[in-house]
């Protein structure tokens, strides 16, 4: 047992935490991130990499269901931590650390849980791969684009060409082709495997569709959010992907905002607007991949929440200088979701969204700088907000990495703020 325990003790220092943020729990999540960092714990990006599942706040029914599924996907040893409020963070983390060391309990858990990954009955959303199974292009098989070809003759043609054993034909008749629209399978030899399943392990095969290159590549369905690193918590973007291009998207907020108490009303004294801006800056910089800048923005955010002024001022000043001068950063973000004044008008977006992602990054840094310096009190969180329901209109047609950058550059407010205005 000595070795196992020693391993567990060492492993504890590198624990990874999958953070689920229920709408309205922005402050909890931020405090959690800071406390995690102090222990040397890092956020996990997927359940596959996580040891601890930390749920900030009390999730609504939809999010709770998703949390269950994320829990199922964690490899184990796994521990759950319910972080109900910013003040509960430390105790929750301590408890999680203690539970992680409890090797016998994890053995039992590993024995008793489902041994094989399964697809849950409801496949609605979730940011992670298992839900986004890529049912694979069946362009060769599915015949969405076949236009003039009629299935029966098509199947017949294939059968005419092949020396199929009779049994193969019998099996073929057992298959329901009408539902799955797979005429092209006519020539297949089914003798070796009777009731061929067009949805192996319950994953339906993908269907093709028109794409911008005219290749009829298959469409995959991938929900972005609500639990996804550097993504506005609570937002779900149901995307249809061809390759990695989003051809269609539909936005929703998890749990429909049924329990939204805005962070502004509840924590108005606690949360400086600059900290929220800084957090969005962290997301954008992390998505671009400039790790040092993201880390700097994060520590500025944490310092702001502590009420520190001088530290963030210096940090933001430097950040501003680097962002303005970095050629590669500009190269990376130029041309991402360019918005003209007419676009702003049409989608009723605030003026700060003008230009492309680089312009918005610069304006975001400048606003943070102004707020930190106190020269300009700045707009409080929730005013001049970007309505989340325009996101699908903006991102359709973009590559998925660009979508992420585009959404992050819009500087959305944490979710309940939206509901608050929406309900008013």
């Amino acid at each position: 047992m000595g070795l196992t325990d020693a391993l567990a003790g060492l492993a504890l220092r590198a624990t990874r935490v999958l953070v689920v943020e229920a709408p309205g729990q922005w402050p909890t999540r931020v405090v959690l991130e800071e406390k995690m960092l102090r222990r040397g714990w890092r956020p996990a990006w997927t359940p596959g990499d996580a040891d601890v599942l930390a749920v900030c706040g009390v999730p609504g029914p939809e999010l709770a269901q998703l949390v269950e599924r994320l829990w199922e996907q964690m490899p184990g040893p796994r521990v759950r931590a319910a972080v109900t409020s910013p003040t509960a963070v430390t105790s929750a983390l301590n408890e999680a650390a203690a539970l992680l060391l409890d090797t016998p309990a994890h053995r039992t858990d590993a024995r008793e849980r489902a041994q094989k990954p399964q697809i849950p009955a409801v496949m609605d959303h979730g940011g992670h791969g298992e839900m986004g199974n890529h049912g694979m292009d069946h362009s060769g098989m599915n015949h969405g684009g076949h236009g003039g070809m009629d299935h029966s003759s098509h199947g017949g043609m294939d059968h005419g060409d092949t020396d199929q054993p009779l049994s193969g034909d019998e099996d073929h008749q057992n298959m329901d082709h009408s539902g799955t629209d797979h005429g092209g399978h006519g020539g297949m030899d089914h003798s070796s495997h009777g009731g061929m399943d067009m949805a192996p392990e319950g994953i339906p095969l993908a269907q093709g569709g028109e794409d911008r290159d005219g290749l009829g590549v298959d469409v995959l369905h991938l929900p972005l959010g609500p639990v996804l690193p550097f993504w506005p918590a609570g937002l779900v973007l149901h995307c249809s992907l061809q390759g990695d291009v989003v051809i269609d998207a539909d936005a929703a907020v998890v749990d429909g905002g049924s329990h939204g108490v805005g962070i502004r009303s509840r924590h108005s004294g606690l949360v400086p607007a600059a900290a929220v801006r800084c957090d969005n800056l962290v997301a954008l910089l992390a998505l671009v991949g400039t790790q040092d800048l993201a880390a700097r923005a994060r520590s500025a955010r944490d310092a702001l929440l502590r009420g520190d002024r001088a530290g963030p001022q210096r940090a933001v000043e430097r950040l501003h200088r680097v962002v303005r001068r970095s050629i590669i950063l500009r190269w990376s973000l130029r041309g991402v979701l360019p918005l003209t004044p007419a676009d702003l008008e049409r989608h009723s977006l605030p003026d700060r969204c003008l230009g492309d992602a680089y312009d918005r990054l610069l304006s975001l840094v400048e606003r943070v700088r102004a707020e930190v310096n106190g020269a300009n009190p700045g707009a409080p969180v929730g005013t001049e907000r970007v309505p989340w329901d325009v996101v699908p209109h903006l991102v359709t047609g973009l590559e998925i990495g660009t979508v992420r950058l585009a959404v992050a550059s819009l500087d959305l407010d944490p979710f309940p703020a939206v509901h608050e205005v929406g309900h008013a």
Binding site: G135, M136, D137, S139, G140, D161
Partner: protein
Amino acid sequence: MVAAIVFWGLAVVAVAAGVAVFVVDSMARATYALAVSFIAVGALIILLQQSYLGVITILMMVMEMAVMAVYMVMFMGMNPALMPMDMTHGKKTAIGASTGVFVLLASGALLIPWPERRGVPPEDLTNALGLEIMGEKMLVMAVVGPVMVATIVAGVVLAAGRTRYDRLGDDLRRRPADDPQPGGIGR
């Protein structure tokens, strides 16, 4: 002795992986089975003391299969769930023909009295090959080069869905070009 064991081991891998290409259910597996077959043949060529050609075979074929896999997925695709599939026609004829060809070739290989070896391999084969290409056989490479270029051009022309008129407008004057995905140097 060791060489013989290695040889037959690689030979079995090469042929088995070749068979696997047409047997396995998954597209990715089929493609990479072919890659394994090529790697084994490349190793066999190295065993036959032609290290440059052997290594270059492995290099090219692994790269090619990596690209091939993308085409497989794009054009026919298969779930990694290993969905059983078989898209063949004229299977019996094909088996007959290929068995016949194998018997013919193999018996030829075994029965024809191959002549004795003439000459000895050069000391530094790679160097000798380079001198050969740049010397006597330069014409061959001089032909292969343009053929490759022609292939690149023809391949792009055949495969591209958009012409320069789509990109640059009817008078070819639109700048920057109208592309669905902008490039990296801002043209």
